[in-house]
Amino acid sequence: MGAALSRLGRTGSFLWSAWSGLAALALLAAAWQAGHEAYGEFILPAPLDTLAAGFAILSDPKAWNVALLTGKRAVEGFAVSALAGAALGLAAGYSPATLRLARPLVTVLLGVPPIAWIVLAMIWFGSTDGTVILTILVSAGPLVFVGVAEGVMTRDRGLDDMARAFGAGPVRRLTTLGLRHVAAHLFPALVVALGMGFKVAVMAELLANVGGIGGELARSRANLDVAGALAWVTIAVAALIVVEYGIVHPVRSEFERWRAAARPWGVKR
């Protein structure tokens, strides 16, 4: 009963915090409107018009397929980079030699601009989903990797010793302490990787001409359709917001309940 009530309370406060998010978006819309009034309809269409154009696009079932295609690619690429980054990060965190070898590689991977990866991937995979997913993997994977490796390295050795004193073997220590501690570092990295996934997916689609939101943006550019382009951008951002606040944040707050308990009063994140 108490647990259900506290869950209800946390869900309520999470939903209530949407107001501050809406306020921030309204501020952005106000700045946008000011830009529209200063530069005119062609350069920057009004936010309401863009929104209307967005709704007009989404009233067409074909447009939903386009948005879902991009969303699917972004989430697929994100899932692959999250899994690969987390697995390799765990290995590197527990093995300092691996980490020493991996760090320069991470720097190289992150140093190559995503656009260069798109070109390479197009040569390797042609105009397919593989191009998009590979590009997301090489740009978002290292972020997750670094986050997880840092998490493993900053684990509390005192807790490890405590678990050992109570008879926990290496596997039990990993499952009950290591992974739980890493989760705190994993989630911020996942949020960044997810955003990266959507951005890179749209970019790769635009350049590789494989349809999706990127493909629609390319067409809007060809037609000088600024309102259409902005509408598609808005749809891409909306898709990101849905995934981030619908999945990543609730899971994370479930893991971070004890942090919230540390500050029972005042403004919460």
């Binding site: 005192g158 010793d161 004193a165 109570f166 009950t176 309940r257 308990a261």
Partner: protein
């Protein structure tokens, strides 16, 4: 037959010997206080005895059924409630659900930890309450041997006393043996049956003294007199307050 027997234990960190030729035996139900000047390796010794550190030389013969440990810091999982922290070793040994909860609650009661605080996270608890959780966690596994590594050093005098009484009571009630590391002779004289003094350089055991009476039945004045006589006339305790900051864990 001793519950724990350490023989010829030796250990070194990065080639520097911190412990050498340590022989120590603890009888079932006996509380042994291990004292020695700061940095003499007593903490390392108890870590070796508890199986956290692999000794370089020598053997640890454990003939007890199940051990538990209380550290200097509470070492609680920050993401788990007090109850889940107490139940953590039970979770490790595969105990589930209702039985685990009941056992953890019983252990909390024995450590005089208030039931209404069981759902709180460690960040919400005071230092003394956290150490109570750590003691309850150790009692939860129903150990017949408990290692204490300077558990009350960070607590204030009044709280320290209450925690010592708690350990004395628990040791009498559950009949567990204990190896209690401390640098506080008063604490050792209250809690233990026997005091073992480690050599100031970790070079073997310097000596040992039995304590008169039983823990929990000694008058404060008697405890104080014992400590005074140790410090004033007994050569064994001459180096006890020497400070040697060789930082060894």
């Amino acid at each position: 037959m001793s519950a724990l027997a350490l023989s010829r234990i030796g250990h070194a960190y990065f080639g520097r010997t911190v412990l050498d030729r340590i022989d120590l035996a603890v009888a079932p139900g006996e509380v042994v206080a291990l004292v020695g000047p700061s940095g003499c390796g007593k903490s390392t010794l108890v870590h070796i005895a508890a199986g956290i550190v692999e000794p370089l030389r020598g053997t640890v013969a454990a003939r007890y059924h199940r051990h538990a440990m209380v550290f200097q810091e509470p070492r609680l999982l920050p993401w788990a409630t007090a109850l889940d922290n107490i139940a953590y070793p039970l979770r490790l040994s595969g105990m589930r659900g209702r039985a685990r909860r009941a056992r953890a609650e019983a252990a909390a009661a024995r450590a005089a930890f208030d039931t209404i605080d069981l759902d709180k996270y460690p960040v919400e608890l005071s230092g003394g309450m956290r150490q109570r959780v750590a003691i309850a966690r150790a009692l939860a596994v129903e150990p017949d041997f408990v290692f204490f590594d300077e558990p009350f050093t960070a607590l204030d005098a009044a709280l320290k006393r209450r925690m010592q009484d708690l350990v004395i009571e628990a040791a009498r009630g559950a009949q567990f043996a204990a190896l209690f590391v401390t640098h506080d002779l008063m604490e050792a004289a209250r809690i233990a049956h026997r005091i073992v003094v480690l050599d100031h350089a970790g070079n073997g055991v310097a000596g040992e003294r039995p304590l008169p009476g039983k823990p929990g039945e000694r008058e404060d004045a008697a405890v104080f007199a014992t400590v005074q006589s140790f410090l004033g006339t007994d050569p064994l305790f001459r180096h006890i307050h020497d400070v040697d900051e060789r930082k060894v864990a």
